[in-house]
């Protein structure tokens, strides 16, 4: 009993609506989740970001009660719901594969949770039409799911999940099937919806841009653990590990051995040359291994004749995408770095010898593995 009281106080004082404590889960002896801890504040927008198969969906299913954790606790509004049935949790899910009921029309699908709760016909009708308006599908009430496009189905799935205003909404790649334009539009719409209804969102996406745009906090997942949990600028500008830097910021990972560092800057050497990175309080001594992450837009290229310090290499490939010119430089040790800039003009052609360097302030020290 005492335990429960302290949980309830946590929910009140800290306004933590959902807490995951050391969640572990394995399937057939294979560990899928290996100790997930998370505190979600009321009204927060949390994104789980990570490559395929890292356990995102499993995490959501455990929160929703569709899967039971092997270890750990799920606490919703100060109540331990670890062993509670899914229908007893005030949590709804927008499924990765929509999971619309094929034998019900749009109106019946969206109104399902209200009908289960025995709300009056008029109430249901009103709530359904409000929800459909939110996802901009008014007038589709009588359509069957198989008469809708993929994007429309996804929006119906969203409407169905928000119609009874759950405390926490779990969204498993809700915009995955939409084209870029509709995707952007729906991102804005979802964010607005979340603000207006004050619902807490736990959101899964593969798309780092989407994560950076929408989230209050992002959890970068890898092999069943949160490799980093923080705000968009935390994970983007101050990645803790090389995986986060690569996955979120598409950063270059450069390794070397510390040499000639001072209190503000860590300097390192490797077989291609030298590099610098601002220390930011890291206790790295000369002779130790250094791993640093530099995003491609911060990599400058100049010719070896200029005498600049940096990493020696040759231009391998030039490509142009999304308004950015991408230059891939093969370094002497066989690794490569990417430099990107706006515009399509660049003096370099494949085969040119170059020196790659960067402003130490723009580089961050990271751990190689979590």
């Amino acid at each position: 009993m005492r335990n429960k009281t302290s949980l309830e106080r946590l929910a009140e004082v800290e306004d933590v609506i959902l807490r995951l404590e050391n969640i572990k889960k394995s399937f057939d002896g294979v560990t899928v989740l290996n100790g997930i801890d998370l505190d979600v504040k009321r009204g927060e927008f949390i994104t789980l970001l990570g490559s395929s198969g890292c356990g995102k969906t499993t995490t959501l299913r455990i929160i929703g009660g569709l899967e039971t954790a092997d270890e750990g606790r799920v606490i919703l509004e100060g109540v331990d719901v670890t062993n509670e049935e899914p229908n007893k949790r005030n949590v709804n899910t927008v499924f990765q594969n929509y999971a619309l009921f094929p034998h019900m029309n749009v109106e019946q699908n969206v109104g399902y949770s209200l009908k289960i709760r025995r709300r009056s016909k008029e109430d249901i009708k009103k709530a359904v039409s409000d929800a459909l308006q939110m996802v901009q599908l008014e007038g589709y009430e009588k359509r069957m799911p198989n008469e809708l496009s993929g994007g429309q189905r996804q929006r119906i799935a969203i409407a169905r999940a928000i119609v009874n205003e759950p405390k926490v909404l779990l969204l498993d790649e809700p915009l995955g099937a939409l084209d870029l334009k509709l995707r952007r539009q729906m991102q804005i719409e979802l964010k607005r919806l979340q603000k207006r209804l004050g619902i807490t969102f736990i959101y899964i996406t593969h798309d780092q841009e989407e994560a950076l745009n929408m989230s209050d906090r992002i959890a970068v997942m890898r092999n069943g653990v949160f490799e980093q949990l923080g705000t968009a600028s935390d994970v983007y500008d101050r990645p803790r590990t090389s995986y986060v830097a690569e996955f979120v910021g598409s950063a270059n990972i450069i390794r070397g051995t510390a040499q000639g560092s001072d209190e503000n800057t860590v300097r390192f050497v490797n077989s291609c040359g030298t590099g610098e990175v601002s220390r930011n309080g890291a206790a790295i001594k000369d002779g130790e291994d250094v791993v640093t992450a530099v995003r491609s837009e911060h990599i400058d290229l100049c010719s070896p004749e200029s005498g600049a310090k940096g990493l020696r290499g040759t231009v391998k490939e030039k490509s142009f995408s999304g308004g950015m010119l991408r230059i891939e430089v093969g370094l002497e040790d066989g690794t490569s770095v990417v430099s990107s800039r706006h515009g399509i003009n660049a003096d370099w052609v494949p085969g040119d010898a170059v020196i790659a360097s960067w402003d130490p302030e723009k580089a961050v020290l990271v751990d190689l593995e979590g």
């Binding site: 009660g65 049935e85 229908n87 949590v91 499924f95 999971a99 034998h103 198989n146 009874n164």
Partner: protein
């Protein structure tokens, strides 16, 4: 299901010709013969005369025969309801088994089909007869004091009907439960449905086509299965099938037997028509 193939090209036509001929000679031909027969008058002892009459149909309205029809319908209804219930439960859980267990159950269901159905029925006689297997077992465990003497009773016939018909129900339900997308049940649970509610609103609705098919596969034959009533019911349970057999083989009243058959067929046709109507109206096959 609109899967009609364009049968226009010549080679295909020649290929299906034997099927048409077969149908003509062995299905449509006898059918027409039977209908004609049912409108003819009976010869005193054997065969028919060429006089047209409605008399055969009118005599069906004799209370004795009407009662036989009612009795047949009642038995078919009772059997179908029981088969639907047990068959659905069985088919449902079979579809939820692990693949290997599923295969084994399927084998167990199919094996009896390799034995003659009459022989299997005689097996039931051994079980049901006074002081037979069932009585001995029940008395041994002390559930009953006196033998039940179930053989030649109504319940024995019902059990025999269920036994003969339930495999069709099981397979029909199984095939539609197997196609279930279980994510839909999770979605229902997630939206607040209890397991029972999720079953009725989602699983049951989506497997209804299988159940309906099973009901047709049970009800229609159960109207005509006269030999089960014969063997397990003695002469206590008389069904339309028994009546037709009797009129044809013993009384030699062919036109009346034909008229009875025509009416029985009409009842079955109406059943199938109603089923298709329901199935279509529901558009149950509509899936994502």
């Amino acid at each position: 299901m609109k899967k009609k193939k364009a049968a226009g090209n010549g080679a295909f036509k020649w290929f299906v010709m034997p099927i048409y001929l077969f149908t003509l000679f062995f299905v449509i031909g006898p059918l027409i013969y039977m209908v004609i027969l049912s409108f003819l008058e009976r010869e005193e002892t054997w065969g028919v005369t060429n006089t047209f009459t409605f008399g055969n149909y009118l005599s069906i309205f004799d209370p004795i025969y009407l009662k036989t029809f009612a009795e047949s319908l009642r038995l078919a209804l009772i059997s179908t309801v029981l088969v639907a219930f047990f068959g659905y439960v069985f088919g449902y859980f079979m579809a939820k088994l692990k693949p290997r267990m599923r295969k084994m159950m399927m084998m167990l269901l199919m094996i009896p089909f390799w034995t003659n159905s009459l022989i299997r029925l005689y097996g039931w006689i051994i079980i049901f007869r006074a002081n037979g297997t069932l009585d001995s077992v029940l008395m041994a465990i002390g559930l009953i004091k006196e033998p039940l003497k179930l053989l030649y009773t109504y319940p024995a016939v019902v059990v025999g009907m269920i036994y003969a018909l339930i495999p069709f129900m099981i397979l029909s339900v199984y095939s539609s439960v197997e196609k279930m997308d279980w994510h839909l049940v999770e979605a229902a649970r997630d939206l607040g449905a209890t397991p029972a509610k999720a079953f009725w609103t989602v699983t049951f609705r989506l497997t209804l086509p299988g159940l309906l098919t099973g009901i047709i596969l049970t009800f229609v034959p159960s109207m005509g299965l006269f030999f089960i009533a014969d063997i397990l019911g003695g002469n206590k349970v008389v069904l339309v099938g028994n009546l037709i057999q009797e009129q044809l083989m013993k009384v030699h009243n062919w036109p009346f037997a034909a008229a009875l058959s025509v009416v029985l067929m009409l009842i079955m046709t109406v059943m199938i028509w109603a089923y298709r109507k329901i199935a279509k109206a529901d558009e149950l096959e509509a899936r994502l």
